[in-house]
């Protein structure tokens, strides 16, 4: 599955989870939520490295510019298929995944609360 497919799949699952049509074991959902946090932190750090590296190499061709170096630099940041654009797509997909896992957890909490409310109204 390509990145576009991943984006579509997880956006769709986020909708399903928000509507309560997707169920996931609560412990698994919590583990996956934490795994997504870790992954997002790593991806954001990589994005920052790519951006800072691009800035440094951007000084290398002063004052006139060098086509080959510009081309390599574009691989680190700046254009459609550059590393920073790809990392941003990955961050989007993992964010969508996390939305799915958190929605299923929110569903459990609502169920717990409404069950508690039901019990609360049962008086001896």
């Amino acid at each position: 599955m390509g990145m576009d497919g991943q984006i579509d799949t997880w956006s769709h699952l986020a909708t399903e989870a928000a509507a309560g049509r997707l169920k996931l074991d609560a412990d698994i959902a919590r583990d996956l939520d934490m795994a997504c946090d870790k992954r997002l932190a790593d991806l954001r750090k990589m994005l920052t490295r790519a951006v800072n590296l691009q800035s440094i190499s951007g000084f290398g061709d002063l004052p006139s510019g060098n086509a080959l170096e510009r081309k390599f630099r574009a691989k680190a940041a700046g254009d459609e298929m550059s590393l920073d654009a790809v990392l941003k797509q990955h961050i989007q997909v993992v964010t969508d995944m996390q939305t799915v896992f958190r929605s299923t957890l929110a569903g459990y909490q609502e169920t717990d609360t409404s069950t508690a409310d039901t019990f609360g109204t049962i008086q001896p």
Binding site: E16, L22, K23, L32, N52, F101
Partner: protein, 174 residues
């Protein structure tokens, strides 16, 4: 009610979660730093208490690019709750920063009575970072605030980097 498979969802996440975790380590430079490097200010030497007052966690310091030395540059990056702070030391001058066609939106600013310039990079169309470059004897010091991508920023990053530059200024070389 439709119940989607837990296994499918789990496998989908793990595939991406473990996709390239070998790149998240901090590789060490394989050779000695390039010559001329030692003379530059080392931003990782900024004391922890000063860093804490900018809002970053000093324990998150990352030297250079994932620990890999960059010729002619020293840099250090720290995590704040919703952003990163990077300080670059270089022998390129403030004039070079202004002449660099990758930079734009220049505004002359004064940081604790020092001549400085605030700017964005041309590639940064979403204004996900903001730079302040200070004129120093050895070249320039660039203070940069970067968003943690995808996390809403409560404050303009140029306001963040202005405050950070003022806090760090007494520690920066003349």
């Amino acid at each position: 009610m439709r119940v989607l498979s837990v296994a499918a969802a789990t496998v989908g996440c793990l595939a991406l979660v473990t996709g390239c975790d070998s790149t998240t380590g901090d590789p060490k430079p394989s050779s000695a730093p390039p010559t001329g490097h030692e003379a530059l200010f080392d931003p990782c030497s900024i004391p922890a208490d000063v860093l804490r007052s900018t809002g970053v966690d000093p324990a998150t310091a990352e030297k250079d690019i994932a620990g890999v030395a960059q010729e002619g540059w020293n840099l250090c990056t720290w995590d704040a709750p919703v952003s990163y702070l990077t300080v670059f030391a270089t022998d390129y001058t403030l004039e070079d920063v202004k002449a660099n066609p990758n930079n734009t939106d220049f505004r002359s600013v004064v940081v604790a009575q020092r001549r400085a310039v605030m700017y964005h990079e041309v590639s940064d169309k979403g204004h996900e970072r903001c730079d302040i470059a200070l004129d120093v004897e050895q070249g320039a010091i660039i203070v940069r605030a970067l968003s943690k991508y995808g996390i809403p920023q409560p404050e303009d990053l140029c306001a963040v980097v202005t405050r950070d530059a003022i806090t760090l200024e007494p520690l920066l070389p003349r």
